[in-house]
Symmetry: C2
């Protein structure tokens, strides 16, 4: 099995890797609605466990709202739904009956949730309300679908909160960012945190913050968003509360989402010519034990391997012992490399003799002999080192992906060739953003949210006074 070149043919590499590594089976009969295979799903379970823990620790409560949304709900928040309408899937029949009113499948749950929030909230004592939902989302995107990158059905967490003041909503946006960043840190991701331009803000929101991750082909992938909704929705849906001053007021809201698309970013950011590399703290399997033996040594080696398995499991590590027969160690090495297991533990008769094992790092390929009794401790140390290695390499990828074109010609040239993020001065005019889009296919992604940047010249597109420093990139 030889993978396509990751830098030169990223999408081919990506498609091959998610197939060989058993992440997604795209032979699903429904276009853009893929089968997440057990190994891929177990990565999602790691992400869910981490984010769900963070959400609960900050007072979010999980709930479940209907998949179906009545048509008139979508109309109620027309501005918000305008963008979704071309992508909405409609149920019009049940059995052999036509439905009286067709039902939308949720492309996101604002409308159905906020109708209920209106009923749930009465006084300031009911605030803040912090609800999260884990569910499937349906968007019949008209663009070409790509497994996990752009699906017609995907899984996500959507957080929705209500507050009594604008200040609290603003603080909630910051809290949601901390939660997401905790998940990204476990995934060794590197990304820009940007505030989207006004015209690209989530419909109904005051502002939108997004996490834009660089991929090796120079494109960027949005791996999460968080929105300050202000009172737009609460006015449309009439969500009010009686404040301490006995006056009825509209609540302030925020919402945020993180989806299975993150798996695509993890695959794209950390993989190499041998396949996936899964960050150690979200890896479903952190260590795979591959026993090595001639036929007559099997019993002895398997016994030692099982002892080692027990020991490592007891230390809280996620371990699997590959004792399948009929496969050579070399074949197994290959398979576990493709699947990105951070550490391979090799154990053969000579190792037993020497009371040691060999640990092989998936990231650097380094082989380390370790006395048997120190294996758990050493493995923990190596997992930490792999985590750091992946994070540093991701940070470098981000750094290297940022260009500083001096003029429009150079910007166009970069965005038509190596792409990445181009840091430029911008006048703030949507027309200039459209020009870039027409000339290169790239978008103005927004201004940095994690640091203040002041423009020091004119708009790179039109030459008038620049209002802000923005990052331009081609998105998936």
């Amino acid at each position: 099995m030889k993978l396509p070149d990751k830098e030169k043919e990223f999408l081919q590499w990506y498609t091959a890797v998610i197939e060989y590594a058993n992440i997604v089976d795209k032979r699903s009969p429904v276009k853009g609605s893929n089968v997440i295979m057990p190994y891929g799903y177990s990565i999602w379970e790691s992400i869910v466990a981490k984010l769900d823990g963070e959400l609960k620790a900050t007072g979010h409560k999980n709930a479940y709202f209907p998949l179906f949304i009545p048509e008139d709900y979508l109309e109620k928040e027309a501005e918000h739904f305008e963008g979704f309408i071309p992508e909405v899937a409609w149920v019009t029949r049940a059995g052999d009956r036509e439905l009286d009113r067709k039902l939308a499948l949720r492309p996101t749950s604002e409308t159905i949730m906020y109708e209920m929030f209106r009923l749930w909230i009465r006084s300031h004592g009911d605030l803040p309300l912090k609800i999260n939902q884990w569910c499937n989302i349906i968007r019949f995107d008209t663009k070409e679908t790509k497994p996990l990158l752009r699906d017609r059905e995907f899984l996500w967490s959507e957080g929705h909160t209500c507050h009594s003041t604008a200040k609290e909503a603003e603080e909630q946006v910051r809290e949601s960012m901390e939660l997401y960043e905790a998940v990204y840190r476990e995934s060794c991701m590197s990304y820009l945190i940007v505030r989207r331009p006004k015209y690209d803000t989530f419909a109904g929101a005051i502002y939108s913050i997004a996490y834009d991750c660089p991929l090796p082909d120079g494109r960027t992938l949005q791996i999460g968003t968080t929105h300050n909704l202000g009172q737009g929705f609460s006015k449309a849906f009439n969500i009010t509360f009686q404040d301490k001053d006995k006056k009825n007021k509209n609540v302030y809201q925020t919402c945020y989402g993180l989806s299975t698309r993150l798996i695509a970013a993890i695959v794209g950011m950390h993989g190499d010519e041998k396949g996936l590399i899964i960050p150690p703290y979200i890896a479903p399997i952190q260590i795979v034990i591959v026993p090595i033996y001639q036929k007559e040594q099997r019993e002895e080696v398997i016994k030692a391997s099982e002892k080692m398995l027990k020991k490592l499991l007891k230390a809280g590590l996620k371990v699997e012992l590959d004792k399948r027969e009929g496969y050579t160690p070399g074949w197994k090495f290959n398979e576990w490399e493709v699947r990105g297991v951070p550490i391979r533990l090799e154990l053969g008769p000579r190792d037993i003799e020497n009371d040691q094992v060999v640990l092989v790092r998936r990231d650097t390929g380094e082989k380390i002999s370790v006395p048997m009794k120190d294996t758990a401790k050493k493995a923990e140390k190596i997992l930490e080192e792999i985590h750091d290695f992946l994070q540093k390499r991701a940070d470098k990828l981000l750094e290297d992906s940022i260009s500083h074109p001096k003029d429009y010609k150079e910007l166009v040239n970069i965005q038509k060739t190596k792409r990445g993020f181009s840091r430029v001065n911008w006048c703030g005019d949507e027309a200039c953003a459209e020009k870039v889009k027409d000339d290169t296919g790239a978008d103005v992604r927004g201004t940095r949210e994690d640091k203040k940047e002041k423009p020091d010249g004119v708009c790179i597109i039109c030459g008038t006074k620049a209002k802000e420093v923005v990052y331009i990139a081609s998105a998936y």
Copy 2:
């Protein structure tokens, strides 16, 4: 707030309780597609955690398959889908486009999963394959919907396995029963395990085993099923493997499901005139601390309560401190009773003086004074006692619900009045079962699977030789 009488007006009681206790909000705009509120959802999360742990410990892997099922897939296993067709919701449009082929929303996932299993399985080395999916299920039931009892959308776990021999599939059925019973035990459920009559077997299966739980109004609720599918589906879907003898054979399959309907059974089985009683080991909140004070004592009492909270959390208990202002202790007692929290911990100035707290059992109402330092230990003990109490009471409910009519007239009389399970001799003829259904609305639920029972007379309906002992009941 006064609840309807549970025995006399069960459905009214049920509807009121799930509203007052914040389990489900049935004001959802889509009929039969309800909002599971945070408290109700947290009960589901306890069930999920328990079952998911059991599934993983027995080698099941979670995966995710599409919500959408192409029409021709349903046709492939016509026998299986015949029963579902009147309930299938169809997506026919996306945006303003008509779809080329309409898509069903999964009423269950056999067809889509088994198409993939066909691709995944090649040799005996790939078996057994044990896949589980947590997902939403859509069935546009034409009968009247009732929250959690009969919904158009519900959440469930569906296990699907493939094996190389009939014997292994049979063993898998037993394993699945053990998993479900572990979940039911935590929920203090009592039920009959019955093998459904041949004509009521899941379409495509060799036999179906179901868990029928008695509800206080004499009706029964199916809270789980497990099916031995034999080779019916594997032949329809052409799922084959190369066996050790190099021959290609069809796999043997099983499947099983457990849904949010279990929450309805828990509510129905354990609640009382004050509201819910949630079994301690699935309770989202096991102990609620209600501080009791006059205004000037507030600081001192809250401080002691917070100290107690920390202590109990540290002991691994699920505890909440209700320090809301503006509500009397009595109002709070009421609310937590409706919500069925197993233990209420009362803490006031006199308790602080005496270095004690008062624990109040939700099931018996008993009040127990406990030295502060012993609280965690004593609470654990009481939770165990409440668990046992609920289990014994449920067992008694089941026992009392079983009648032994001596003739058809008595059977009809029982099934038209107090209902419950009627244990009778039956000839095995579907026509006799239909007669009972016509006369009483009750079904032949099947034969006991957990114990062998031999008929000792003639069929209670037609008077010919009886073939088996069956249980007759009205189902939700």
